[in-house]
């Protein structure tokens, strides 16, 4: 059990069931949390709860829209460099480190990295395409709190998202993780061509033993920019179906269902911010409760930021919701959504713009 004082009280990590629980100051005090620094007149700025650490830029496959632009000969930091980054994150009170890349399995020291993270009080998790994940390899990954396998569907659906058919590879990886007893889920990227196959894909993931599905919005970064992005992003009709799709998946899939931060705008009109806050839903927390560390050790607001000025951009993105543009300024979701995905907004417009794919923004702009 671990706690971190915040202006509102504290975040407390409980292990059974695994969760971060936000508690008020009174309960935090009863739990023995020292709030002297955080509860003063000048509350400290938000610190990351979760950090996404790129452990390599190397990957043997070549996904069409890879947000990291990973290649077979990409750079990989040393073990000691990564452990130093874990040390820094642990000092800041980070709870979860998500290892990615590149393909993390291209490293031979993943078990040692997971142990190093745990020794520092960090819960290590990992995302993989599954390439190289044999049964023997899976048995070495038991220190990971969870592994997610990228799985966008069988056959054509997978190929439509990533440009190669890695579905069988992902299925083999899931079988190996299941046999090894490693908790795993799937990452499912939503694109306009595969949207109709989502429920079938989730059903297949359940058959393979996944406990969780995370739905992700395609982001314009790395090789996924420009025409690739415009060709992949969801249509507005599909965006409108998202709340109903989520409800069907929650009620019928048998899996725990997650959405990524960029999908929160798609819930507007269905929920208010207080409801989402109570459920621990996070919108764009880039530069606040989320941080990224790239292969060179540079801190950024989130993994999709690919520019050369991560510090100033992190500050700008983190402050976006404090000066919301129209029509976000009177949106019931603003406190959680925080203006939607900054990566999409900056790719398609100006950094201060609202998320242009938010249905409320689309409707507002259509009204002129």
């Amino acid at each position: 059990m671990r706690a971190r004082a915040e202006a509102f009280g504290a975040w407390v990590r409980v292990d059974d069931p695994p969760a971060l629980v936000a508690v008020d100051r009174a309960l935090a005090s009863r739990l023995g949390v020292d709030g002297a620094a955080a509860w003063g007149a000048e509350a400290p700025p938000p610190r990351p709860l979760e950090a996404h650490v790129a452990v390599t830029a190397r990957c043997p496959v070549a996904c069409t829209g890879c947000y990291q632009d990973a290649t077979p000969d990409g750079v990989a930091p040393s073990f000691d460099e990564l452990v130093a980054r874990f040390d820094a994150l642990a000092r800041e009170g980070v709870f979860v480190v998500a290892l990615g890349g590149g393909e993390p399995l291209s490293r031979d020291d993943l078990p040692a990295l997971a142990r190093a993270a745990r020794e520092r009080g960090l819960a290590p998790v990992m995302t993989t395409s599954g390439v190289g994940l044999t049964a023997a390899r899976a048995r070495t990954l038991t220190d990971f709190a969870q592994v997610n396998v990228s799985f966008d569907g069988d056959g054509d659906a997978y190929r439509a998202v990533r440009g190669f058919d890695g579905a069988a590879l992902a299925a083999r990886a899931m079988n190996a993780l299941h046999a090894a007893g490693v908790p795993f889920g799937v990452n499912l990227v939503l694109t306009r061509r595969t949207f109709g196959a989502v429920e079938g894909t989730v059903g297949r993931a359940r058959e393979l033993g996944a406990a969780e599905v995370q739905l992700l919005r395609f982001k314009p970064a790395g090789r996924g920019v420009g025409a690739v992005y415009l060709d992949a992003r969801l249509t507005q009709a599909q965006v409108a179906e998202i709340p109903a799709l989520l409800e069907r998946l929650v009620r019928a899939s048998g899996l725990r269902v997650r959405i990524d931060c960029s999908m929160v705008p798609f819930l507007c009109g269905r929920f208010d911010a207080a409801t989402l806050e109570a459920a621990g839903v996070l919108g764009c927390e880039a530069g606040r409760w989320l941080a990224s560390v790239d292969v060179l050790g540079r801190r950024g607001p989130c993994s999709f930021y690919r520019g050369e000025e991560p510090g100033p951009v992190a500050a700008r993105w983190a402050g976006h919701a404090s000066r919301p543009p129209r029509p976000c300024d009177d949106c019931a979701l603003l406190a959680v959504c925080r203006g939607g995905c900054r990566v999409v907004a900056e790719h398609l417009g100006d950094g201060g713009d609202p998320d242009p794919e938010c249905p409320r923004v689309v409707a507002w702009r259509a009204r002129g």
């Binding site: 629980v21 955080a38 795993f184 929160v264 929920f271």
Partner: protein, 68 residues
């Protein structure tokens, strides 16, 4: 607009199921939004059983994550 908010114990502001395992964007469980109490009830048990937690480090000046 629907708000099927699950009841949370006194003093609990939010419950965020862990861990998730995506390396590129923050994932949030939405089960509680559609089926009230799905996760909250079990977390309530965990919260009730909380003992004094291990403190995380106090805030410090921002620094490069690469610094050891």
């Amino acid at each position: 607009m629907t708000t099927p908010r699950a009841p949370l114990p006194d003093g609990v502001l939010a419950v965020r199921p862990l861990p998730g395992a995506n390396c590129s964007s923050v994932g949030s469980v939405v089960d509680m939004l559609f089926v009230a109490g799905v996760v909250a009830s079990s977390v309530a048990v965990a919260v009730a059983a909380l003992s004094a937690p291990e403190p995380a480090p106090a805030p410090e000046e921002p620094r490069d994550a690469g610094e050891g």
